[in-house]
């Protein structure tokens, strides 16, 4: 049996260990990542201050543990260890999280074919709807936007206002997704759009028409060059690229697109 003072001391040690572990984890994500901020893999840069503030508070908590150690043991024994285990659980997932990127399965589960709503209405709180914005045969479509204004539109630009780029030559980088509903000469090319954090990232993309589509593996990062058009998919009109060239490319430092 442990005496009361030794149990209190043990509580202080366990609490200190938890606070220090969180400080190290937050510090690693915030500072130890050089020009490739690890925080950017999880939350958009507007919110990084939360983690910086968290580090500051953790430092204060650690200092308070030194100056004013716990006076009570709280729960003892196994329950105490279970609580500490829960508090450290996110840190155990951290190594796996920083070495991973969201899978194509995740994108599919997040409704792969609702790109335009997800991007053009980032503040929406309603479930995205699968509604075509225009008819592909619409003869009154707006002319292509002056390429000098946006020489290399991002996937976000294209998905937000595909009509503006109809007929333009564009080069985009995205992830390959194969879908049985698409013809053999097509694949879906998408990026994940981070509104707030990786947990709410939603896919946004276009259909790419390319004769050698079947050679591309699902999940591969590709650079697509071609002309913007529209194509029928699942009964609706979708923005598409009639590709002249598709080549594999390396994974970007931050795979997410961030709407303003």
């Amino acid at each position: 049996m442990h005496s009361e003072p030794s149990r209190i001391r043990r509580t202080g040690i366990l609490q200190s260990a938890v606070v220090i572990a969180w400080m190290v984890a937050f510090g690693w994500l915030a500072l130890g990542s050089g020009d490739d901020p690890l925080l950017g893999r999880f939350i958009r840069s507007d919110y990084w201050w939360l983690v910086y503030a968290g580090i500051g508070i953790l430092v204060a908590l650690a200092a308070s543990l030194v100056v004013r150690p716990p006076r009570h043991t709280g729960l003892g024994g196994l329950r105490s260890l279970l609580q500490i285990g829960i508090l450290l659980l996110p840190l155990l997932f951290l190594p796996l999280a920083v070495t991973s990127e969201l899978s194509t399965d995740a994108a599919e589960k997040r409704s792969l074919y609702t790109p335009r709503v997800a991007v053009s209405r980032p503040q929406s709180s309603s479930p995205a709807k699968l509604e075509p914005k225009r008819n592909a045969s619409n003869e009154n479509a707006k002319p292509a936007r002056n390429s000098a204004k946006s020489p290399e539109p991002t996937m976000l630009d294209l998905v937000s206002d595909p009509e503006d780029f109809e007929g333009s030559n564009v080069t985009l980088v995205g992830i390959v997704h194969r879908d049985k509903r698409l013809p053999a000469n097509s694949f879906f090319c998408y990026r994940l759009v981070m509104v707030c954090c990786a947990a709410d990232a939603t896919p946004a993309g276009v259909i790419v028409e390319w004769p050698e589509s079947s050679k591309l593996k699902k999940g591969t990062w590709v650079k697509v060059n071609g002309k913007v058009t529209f194509t029928k998919f699942d009964g609706s009109d979708y923005p598409a690229i009639s590709a002249a060239k598709v080549e594999k490319t390396s994974t970007p430092k931050n795979g997410f697109l961030i709407p303003q």
Binding site: Y47, P90, R110, P127, C197, A198, A199
Partner: protein, 316 residues
């Protein structure tokens, strides 16, 4: 040795992402709560809530604006207020309203919903109106406080939530000592409530990693089913009101705005953790009536928003 299972990897990313937003916010809220605990004299609150019962209800439901306390710390404070003579209905209004109608919760909701003031305003208004309504009804149902309250003195005269680590001698203390008190309170809150937040974040991340949005939408295709599902989730997840908006926002693509709002309004008023702490203060019948009234009020408000306004105003 890291797993190659994509679902586990997705879970890890979702989990860490939610934690990186929610845990710092909980710590900021805990620190603010600690500062209030250390610097604001409780007599000030008691003065505000004394007087006629009905007017006190309307004041109490909005007191979170100047006392931004999350629901994690509210029950011990309410217990102390009641023991100091604050009328029961006013204490109930404070209990239900303060964890929602407060600037910390407004800020976290604004952040989680990317500056969407419609979500913030609706949450504040719903929180206030429901807190006042439930308090008025309970005041009418329980004329004598002995019908509602457990007998006995509060276990902690200091009125604080955990009574760990800080001094109880109540002597006038220096500024630096008060700062240390505030940090110690924040530390206690971190160790008491972070585990609930982590469990909630894990469940939300798991749901995000495994649930097919389209299939889920079909399963809860009607708004009322969505609202009920999110209310059930709010009760079971035990999230802190300062951070629950980040979890609710994770369901943006899954459920309508009213279901997310139901989650954010009901959770701070009624979850399993709160119910357990209610047993330290109220009789069983009182808890049953309080839970039922709150549940019905939130459901009614969300249905009114869904079918009267087509969702949360400004959220579409």
């Amino acid at each position: 040795m890291l797993t190659r299972d994509p679902e586990v990897r997705d879970l890890a990313i979702n989990f860490v992402a939610i934690i990186l937003e929610a845990v710092p916010f909980m710590m900021i809220g805990a620190l603010i709560g600690g500062i209030i605990e250390a610097f604001v004299p409780p007599e000030f609150v008691q003065r505000l809530l004394s007087g006629r019962t009905k007017s006190a209800i309307f004041v109490a439901a909005g007191l979170g604006v100047i006392f931004p306390i999350c629901e994690c710390a509210i029950v011990p404070i309410v217990r102390r207020l009641i023991n100091k003579g604050v009328p029961l209905p006013a204490a109930i209004a404070f209990l239900l309203g303060a964890p929602i109608v407060n600037p910390v919760v407004a800020a976290s909701t604004l952040l989680a919903y990317q500056g969407n003031w419609g979500m913030v305003a609706t949450r504040m208004v719903c929180g206030y109106v429901i807190a006042v309504s439930v308090a008025l009804v309970l005041g009418a149902l329980f004329k004598h406080e002995t019908e509602a309250l457990l007998p006995g003195e509060p276990s902690c005269e200091h009125g604080c939530c955990h009574c760990e680590g800080h001094h109880h001698d109540h002597k006038p203390s220096s500024f630096s000592s008060k700062i240390l008190d505030a940090i110690t309170h924040a530390r206690d809150d971190f160790f008491t409530f972070a585990k609930f937040l982590i469990i909630g974040a894990f469940v939300a991340a798991l749901a995000r990693a495994t649930i097919d949005v389209v299939a889920f939408r079909q399963l809860f295709s009607s708004p009322i089913l969505s609202i009920l599902a999110m209310m059930g989730l709010a009760v079971t997840l035990n999230l802190c009101s300062g951070t629950d908006a980040f979890i609710a926002a994770g369901f943006r693509a899954v459920f309508p705005s009213t279901a997310q709002m139901a989650f954010m309004v009901l959770g701070p008023m009624l979850d399993l953790k709160l119910m357990l702490t209610y047993f330290t203060l109220f009789r069983g019948r009182m808890i049953g009536v309080l839970a039922l009234l709150t549940f019905v009020a939130v459901l009614t408000a969300m249905m009114a928003l869904q079918y009267g306004f087509g969702g949360v105003p400004g959220a579409q």
